[in-house]
């Protein structure tokens, strides 16, 4: 077989996979988008036209006009930013210590952080709920944010440690020789160099926070406080049978922030994610 022929077969196989991807991953999304711009009449006549005859943005204005949904989005944004920022603040010094300092229990610490990352938040929700009820912390953004931080901090620590490991130790040494103490070396020298890594970890952790479900579901009982990941579920209860086009528009709005940020920064995030794997 000639090289050319081989390459052609490679191309054909590749496009076969891409075609599968387009159908399996793309079509459900397109269908959701299609439903979200339909009139009620066109939802209930089973039609396979992805582009509706009378496209309308009315569903989006209905969802956003309800006020409740805007509240959900705003609550998500608030919890996401506080949770991700807090997680980075707690993770950065710990990751630096795990990367640079040779303390007793370092390995145990790293394994512990890794194990925490694998425990489902579901496991801790009941005791937390009871505890929060007793001390009156239920329905509080502050206490809920701390739970977000605790859940996000393991991943943030592992990612940041990976970046710090990749920064030459000569840099700290130079800072120490210049009279910095270790904290100054970290704050003034290492952190500025690791901005890309810190940013990538922040975005990834923020995407996780955006999708977090069980924590706000249990700890924020008042609908007005809930983030969109929880609020959309009550939308599903209300609209799934009667007004699927509204539910579809809500689902699109709920996923767009996470998906858009990820698509905009994907090269950067993927590179950060896999740098540990490839470069060691």
């Amino acid at each position: 077989m000639t090289v050319k022929r081989r390459r052609w077969r490679g191309h054909a196989a590749t496009y076969a996979v891409f075609a599968f991807v387009a159908v399996f991953f793309g079509v459900p999304l397109l269908w959701l988008l299609s439903l979200s711009i339909r009139t009620p009449a066109e939802v209930f006549t089973a039609s396979l036209n992805f582009l509706p005859r009378e496209p309308t943005l009315h569903n989006y204005s209905a969802v956003l006009g309800s006020g409740r949904f805007q509240g959900y989005l705003f609550n998500s944004l608030r919890l996401t930013l506080i949770g991700a920022t807090g997680a980075m603040l707690a993770a950065a010094p710990a990751a630096f210590a795990a990367s640079r300092l040779d303390f007793r229990g370092r390995r145990f610490f790293l394994i512990g952080v890794l194990s925490l990352q694998m425990i489902s938040p579901l496991v801790i929700m009941i005791p937390l709920y009871r505890y929060f009820v007793t001390v009156g912390l239920l329905d509080s953004y502050i206490s809920t944010s701390f739970v977000y931080i605790a859940i996000l901090v393991p991943l943030a620590t592992w990612m940041l440690k990976g970046f710090f490991d990749g920064i030459p130790k000569e840099l700290d040494e130079a800072a120490l020789v210049d009279g910095c103490n270790r904290f100054q070396a970290f704050y003034r020298v290492i952190l500025p160099v690791s901005v890309p890594g810190v940013a990538a970890a922040f975005v990834l952790v923020a995407i996780l926070a955006w999708g977090e479900f069980i924590v706000p579901f249990i700890l924020l009982s008042r609908p007005a406080m809930q983030p969109v990941s929880v609020g959309i579920l009550s939308f599903q209860g209300t609209f799934a049978q009667t007004a699927t086009q509204i539910l579809a528009a809500g689902a699109v709005l709920a996923m767009i922030p996470a998906v858009a940020v990820f698509i905009a920064l994907q090269r950067f995030i993927i590179a950060a994610l896999t740098s540990g794997a490839v470069k060691g």
Partner: protein
């Protein structure tokens, strides 16, 4: 990412295997002499405080509640093994274990193979600058970063028996009568698995792609010189080289899938009947629908034990790769 799991949580290894290069480096130690344990404490305090108060302590409480007959409906409870005796030998628990195993094993198989297939295609596409590569990769990744509840809603709409159900509308055009994707017992579990594959394939693709990139091209050249076909070099070079990362991936998919429940909640709610009530969802229902704190905690402890076993397995894998 996908991240988003409770699966909303995506657990991403920042350092999966393949790190032979690391071996040459000495263990990290402070450049200017050893730093004492006391020196590290201030750095760790913020993390330790948050994690202890909001993660470790409640996890230990869950363990304590599992040894009680507590209920969310009353304040008093007794200690004992009643909850374990009620939950573990019951036929409904065995059923939950069975469908959870099917859910996890099917997810592992399809996510690994699809992830590898897409990774190979993307690699080929990138190397040959084929148009469409970036779109394909982005599509796969988009489904990963979505909140789990949204994934459940999307597939609930697509598989629904109503007029807006895409799958049945498509079947109708080729003359096949409607299929109860979400309403019949066997189909529903399959639908949950499909949705989970939709969500998790991207993560496998990312890992597999990184693994493929790190295979030394010399190996392929040597195989070609020996007259190996593409197929043979896939089996003899690609797969063996990917073995460590496939193992890491397998463990991570297992954990993510075991912990999945928000997506299932939105997709089938565990039904029809209890046909798709996987372990995590069963735990959730036991506590928040049946209000049985003791029995729910037993299930939570089962989940905890599973997570910790997988975490240890993962640590072992990293250690054999000398990553930790």
């Amino acid at each position: 990412m996908a991240a988003p799991d409770t699966r909303g949580r995506v657990r991403v290894p920042s350092a999966p295997g393949l790190a032979s290069r690391r071996r040459e480096q000495p263990a990290p130690s402070a450049a200017s002499g050893r730093v004492s344990y006391q020196g590290a404490t201030p750095w760790l305090i913020p993390l330790l405080v948050v994690v202890t108060l909001f993660y470790l302590w409640p996890a230990i409480q869950a363990l304590r509640f599992s040894f009680t007959d507590a209920s969310l409906l009353r304040d008093q409870f007794d200690y004992g093994l009643t909850s374990y005796q009620r939950v573990l030998p019951s036929p409904s628990f065995l059923f939950v274990v069975r469908i959870t195993l099917v859910f996890v094993l099917a997810s592992i198989f399809f996510q690994l193979s699809l992830g590898l297939g897409v990774a190979l295609a993307v690699q080929h596409g990138v190397r040959n600058r084929l148009p469409g590569t970036a779109i394909a990769r982005t599509l796969v990744l988009s489904s990963w970063v979505m909140p789990g509840v949204i994934i459940g809603i999307i597939w609930q709409i697509v598989l629904s028996g109503a007029s807006y159900g895409l799958a049945n509308s498509m079947l109708a055009t080729i003359g096949i009568s409607p299929v109860g994707f979400l309403s019949t017992t066997n189909m529903a579990l399959g639908s949950v698995i499909v949705a989970n594959i939709w969500r998790g394939t991207a993560f496998s693709m990312i890992l597999q792609y990184a693994g493929l990139q790190s295979i030394d091209p010399v190996l392929y050249e040597a195989a070609a010189v020996d007259g190996a076909s593409k197929w043979q070099s896939f089996w003899r070079v690609t797969l063996p080289s990917l073995r460590p990362i496939l193992m890491v991936n397998l463990v991570l998919i297992s954990i993510q899938t075991f912990n999945t429940f928000d997506m299932v909640l939105a997709l089938t709610g565990g039904g029809p009947g209890r046909a798709t009530e996987v372990l995590a969802l069963r735990t959730f229902n036991m506590i928040f629908r049946n209000f049985s704190l003791g029995q729910g905690s037993v299930l939570a402890v089962v989940m905890l034990a599973l997570s910790l076993s997988f975490a240890l397995l993962y640590v072992r894998l990293l250690r054999t790769e000398e990553r930790l």
